[in-house]
């Protein structure tokens, strides 16, 4: 059985089609999900894509976090469903308190659009288990509010619990402890600012983002049997 991966489209999402395409290229079944429904159509995992949901009104991700589809997604993520938030999706996951911390405006006050070097810190997650620890990869980063912040106690805790998944090599936005991506305690929810769905084909750079999709595939193959 081919695992079905849902990608949510919010008003203002930009990278939903790229995420759906990356899912398909990885040999998984992409399932478009609309933010306004309360059904996730029985998918096995969900990706919240990048963009500017609800125009970034109030705060990035603050309104999308209360979209009808989110209550079902949060419920399932709490029960262990793989959930990946990319860029705006990461902001939504922090607003939903599925991940610790928050994303604020880049310290340099400018939008950053670059091919960003990252170090893989943890492969102990549903979405990164086919990387190798310490591996350096290059993935597209494009965001104005990617500055990760959390209080000292939270930072100590997530570092101690191996919940920092990626760090920037050369901090582009002022993120605390160079953090580019984090996971929850269980390792099924991952959020990061860079865009792995843009790095799945040699034609458009490299394939350093592909292991996200092979990782969830490997996990679901074990989980679904």
């Amino acid at each position: 059985m081919i695992p079905r991966i849902g990608v949510v489209t919010f008003p203002g999402s930009l990278d939903d089609s790229d995420a759906l395409r990356a899912v398909e290229l990885a040999g998984l079944k992409p399932v478009p999900l609309w933010h306004g429904t309360d059904s996730v159509q029985g998918v096995d995992a969900v990706i919240l894509p990048g963009g500017f949901s609800y125009g970034d009104y109030l705060r990035c991700g603050a309104i999308a976090r209360f979209s009808p589809v989110m209550s079902e997604i949060i419920k399932r993520a709490d029960a262990g469903m793989p959930l990946l938030g990319i860029c705006n999706g990461f902001q939504i996951l922090c607003e939903a308190h599925l991940l610790p911390g928050a994303l604020t405006r880049n310290a340099g006050r400018t939008f950053v659009c670059t091919e960003q070097r990252l170090r893989v810190e943890s492969i102990d997650t549903v979405w990164t288990n086919t990387y190798t620890p310490g591996q350096e990869i290059t993935i597209v980063l494009k965001s104005g509010e990617g500055n990760y912040v959390a209080d000292e106690e939270t930072l100590r805790r997530i570092e101690g619990e191996n919940q920092v998944v990626f760090r920037y090599v050369g901090n582009p936005n002022g993120s605390a402890r160079d953090i580019a991506g984090v996971t929850n305690e269980r390792g099924n929810v991952v959020g990061l600012m860079p865009h792995p769905e843009h790095n799945v084909e040699d034609l458009t750079g490299n394939t350093d983002g592909k292991p996200f999709f092979t990782s969830v595939q490997a996990f679901l193959a074990r989980a679904l049997g």
Binding site: L58, R59, A62, F66, C94, E95, G101, A102, T104, R105, N106, A107, G108, R109, N147, V149, A150, D151, G174
Partner: protein, 138 residues
């Protein structure tokens, strides 16, 4: 309609790039020695009077949606009554007191206690009184 105000400010320890940008622009314009932090103000109209229950409801809304308490503090308070709601005596007293508004007042009017504001709170210093929000409330 009574109004309740929710002020949302970035926490002191959180970098405020917008405030920094405004601070820099002010300095370039010759406004020396000013340091700005930038937040948001929500004005919420409520049906009926601003009771403790209404304030509690709005504090809950602020906690849930208006502020992200990981990075922001908020203050909830009843807005000063609008002009038309005043008695003639109040209006007259306001007019008398208006010129005094331009006199310097302590620059350190205490901010309402973040996140736990309860009773109607005084507004921070305003240089020129806006109609209907005069100093009688202070």
């Amino acid at each position: 309609m009574a109004r309740v105000v929710v002020d949302v400010m970035p926490k002191q320890e959180i970098l405020d790039p917008q405030g920094k940008a405004v601070t820099g622009a002010l300095a370039r314009l010759g406004f020396e020695g000013l340091s700005v932090r930038q937040g948001k103000r929500f004005e919420i109209e409520v049906a009926g009077e601003v009771t403790e229950a209404v304030l509690a409801q709005i504090r809950s809304a602020a906690e849930k949606l208006l502020a992200n308490t990981v990075i922001e503090d908020f203050t909830v308070y009843a807005a000063p009554a609008p002009e038309q709601g005043r008695t003639p005596q109040q209006a007259a007293a306001l007019q008398q007191s208006a010129p005094q508004q331009t006199a310097p007042r302590p620059a350190t009017t205490p901010r309402p206690v973040p996140t736990q504001g309860t009773a109607p709170q005084p507004r921070p210093v305003q240089q020129a009184p806006r109609p209907g929000t005069g100093g009688q409330q202070q």
